[in-house]
């Protein structure tokens, strides 16, 4: 008997080696405790956590915000159902993942955008970013951010930061710089740059200071001195502008925390977003590692990396001379450095991105160590793009870039199996 059994025994192993085995979930001995968590439960909880910020968005940006959220969520659900029907797989719109995708997509769009922007963004998010890759759990990138990135390139006019609404009529907010507190009767909304765009503009919009043509003709040396003076003046101007912004030109930090500032629909209210996230972290559906590493990297980056001031002297369209100056916030204005860092943390989509987008279960690493690496990478990319890149806002692209590396991170942070050599 044993002689017969021996040749049979190696067979399953050989078969397993040659044939690609279906993905298996290895579990231990029974009995098992059954958790109550399910996709539907988690997704609807996330949706519920987004509700306060969604409600507040209407208060800040008017009825258009609700319209956008509704349109995006409806498009996401319809698209998901239609594609799943076509793919002949079970239609799973009732699990709420499409709704969450829709809401998050709308959250990173400005209320001023046309009605087609949330529809297209949501369509791209669900159809291309999610279903084309195999549906929930198989997507490489965060669908909502893909949708946002698509419309960002597709409709640059609608998503231009300078057209982001600052406040709507009936809602009074203090300290909006030149926008003023009181809205004239009949005005629906004032558009203006979001705080990040304002900061960026202060650093980079210092071209100008054109010396007259006759001055340049008068003599090369005299002209060179003029140009140097103009450059120095421009840099000083930029410095003053940033300083003025931090001491009063930008929205109040309190407003930044509550959310009455320029920006996308759902990203402004840091406090309400954090409220929902605290619940999700307490439940264990969002791990603290990603937001912590993300915020930490942004704070450290803002302190460690210098602000880049660029000045140019132009004549006609040609750049005659330019100067780059680097300033460390902590060394240059020690008393305002904390404020500068606070603006970095609270402005843009950082709070929304770090708490809800980067922590997406599908597109983030599996291990705690991997999550720390992932979050830190997002933070470093965000601060690098913000300070030195072309876009005023960087959260979307930094998270998408880090999503790409998740498989690699998972590979290198695999926990060592107990009892095995490394």
């Amino acid at each position: 008997m044993s002689a017969q059994a021996e040749p049979i025994a190696p067979k399953p192993a050989a078969a397993a080696k040659t044939e690609p085995a279906p993905p298996t979930l290895v579990v231990g001995h029974w009995p098992h405790l059954r958790g109550k968590d399910s996709i539907a439960r988690i997704m609807w909880s996330v949706a519920a956590c987004l509700v306060p910020a969604a409600l507040a968005s209407g208060w800040f940006f008017g009825i258009r915000a609700y319209m956008h959220i509704g349109l995006a969520a409806a498009t996401a659900v319809v698209t998901e159902a239609a594609i799943q029907r076509l793919r002949k797989v079970p239609v799973t719109v009732s699990d709420g993942s499409a709704v969450v995708t829709g809401i998050l997509t709308a959250f990173c769009l400005p209320a001023q955008a046309g009605w087609y922007v949330p529809v297209v963004a949501s369509l791209v998010a669900v159809a291309i970013a999610k279903q084309c890759f195999g549906g929930l759990g198989a997507n490489v990138w965060n669908p909502a951010l893909i949708g946002r990135a698509f419309v960002h390139v597709a409709y640059p006019v609608d998503l231009n930061p300078s057209s982001y609404p600052v406040l709507t009529s009936g809602h009074v907010t203090a300290n909006l710089g030149t926008a003023g507190d009181a809205l004239p009767a009949g005005v629906q909304a004032i558009t203006g740059a979001s705080p990040l765009a304002q900061m960026k503009a202060a650093c980079h919009a210092v071209t100008g200071a054109t010396p007259g043509a006759n001055q340049l003709k008068a003599g090369v040396e005299a002209a060179a001195a003029d140009i140097q003076a103009a450059l120095a003046q421009a840099v000083q101007q930029a410095q003053d502008q940033i300083h003025a912004g931090l001491t009063g030109g930008l929205p109040h930090l309190g407003d930044m925390l509550m959310g009455s500032r320029g920006g996308s629909i759902g990203e402004t209210s840091a406090l309400l977003l954090a409220l929902g996230a605290v619940y999700l972290i307490a439940k264990g559906w969002v791990r603290w590692q990603i937001p912590a590493a993300y915020f930490g990297a942004v704070i450290l980056g803002a302190l460690a990396l210098p602000i880049h001031l660029a000045a140019e002297v132009t004549q006609g369209t040609a750049v005659v001379a330019s100067r780059d100056q680097y300033l460390w916030a902590a060394a240059w204005m020690p008393e305002l450095a904390w404020k500068y860092v606070a603006y970095h943390v609270l402005s843009g989509g950082l709070v929304l991105g770090a708490l809800y987008m980067a922590t997406d279960m599908v597109t983030s690493p599996l291990t705690g160590r991997g999550m720390l690496i992932f979050g830190a990478g997002c933070g470093v990319l965000t601060i690098l793009i913000r300070l030195y890149g072309g876009y005023p806002e960087a959260v979307c692209y930094s998270i998408l870039l880090m999503n790409t590396t998740v498989a690699l991170i998972d590979r290198y942070t695999l926990p060592r199996i107990f009892g095995h050599e490394k």
Partner: protein, 269 residues
């Protein structure tokens, strides 16, 4: 007749973009508008037909070791002619838009691929029809891609702006806001990727349908044997195969295994 039948099937079955996956670089680059796409496809088709015929004529004199170089010389000659003709006759805007991509037809892999795979082994008439067939396939695919990109990405068609459709005072189709991204490089990749997926999906469904249509006779044989071979049982047995065949659903592997099992059973019988 065989030649004609082959020619008729060529644009779809040997489609250079979606089946052979050749010549993607100009396809991605010039498909920004329908006019550009059609002009590019026409230029490439003209060169393809001429080079196919000439290469087919001289195929017996070309030493095997240097055949690629000979093909390139022939193709380059026709491309030069094509470029000069286009400069003389085609509208300025199209010449400007196609730019470097007309001279680059020299290294277009569709043309070199057809020379290597077909013209160097077939007679001149067959090679001409091959060039025409593949050229029409290129025209169809480039036309489709550039049609989608121009309509969605620029809101125009053949250069004419799409206007809102108004019927009896009510706007039926509102003003379209073009999605600029589709006119840019990422848009080209997205559109081509989606079309690849779509055609693959359609082809797959058709293959499945053909396979399932062939199945029903088989379970009849398999059912005669009370104990089907193990592979058949693993795949779900004859009952499942038949049911799925009736539905026309995707049960490719099981149907195939079943056929094998049945064939073996037949051999035994």
């Amino acid at each position: 007749m065989g030649l004609w039948k082959e020619f008729i099937q060529k644009p779809i079955q040997q489609n250079p973009v979606f089946v052979l996956v050749l010549g993607l670089c100009p396809t991605l680059a010039v498909s920004t508008s329908l006019a550009n796409g059609v002009a590019m496809a026409c230029a490439a088709t003209g060169v393809l037909i001429c080079s196919n015929v000439l290469i087919s004529l001289i195929r017996k004199f070309i030493p095997n070791q240097i055949r690629i170089a000979c093909f390139i010389v022939v193709i380059a000659g026709f491309v030069t002619m094509c470029e000069i003709i286009m400069k003389a006759l085609a509208p300025e805007a199209i010449n400007k838009a196609l730019g470097i991509f007309i001279p680059l037809i020299v290294v277009n892999c569709i043309i070199l691929g057809r020379a290597e795979a077909y013209a160097s082994q077939h007679g001149p008439l067959a090679s001409m029809l091959d060039g025409l067939g593949v050229g029409v396939g290129y025209l169809l695919s480039l036309g489709l891609i550039s049609f989608i990109r121009e309509v969605l990405g620029a809101g125009t068609l053949w250069g004419y702006r799409l206007t809102p459709v108004v019927l009896g005072g009510t706007t039926v189709i509102p003003e379209y806001t073009p999605a600029a991204v589709l006119g840019m490089a990422p848009g080209a990749f997205i559109i081509i990727g989606l079309l690849f997926g779509l055609f693959y999906w359609i082809g797959n469904r058709r293959r499945e349908a053909a396979r399932c249509a062939a199945v029903p006779a088989v379970p009849q044989v398999a059912r005669d044997f009370p104990k089907p071979p193990k592979e058949g049982a693993e795949a779900g047995g004859p009952g499942r195969g038949r049911r799925a065949a009736g539905r026309g659903a995707a049960v490719g592997p099981s149907a195939q295994v079943l056929t094998q099992g049945a064939r073996r059973a037949q051999g035994k019988g």
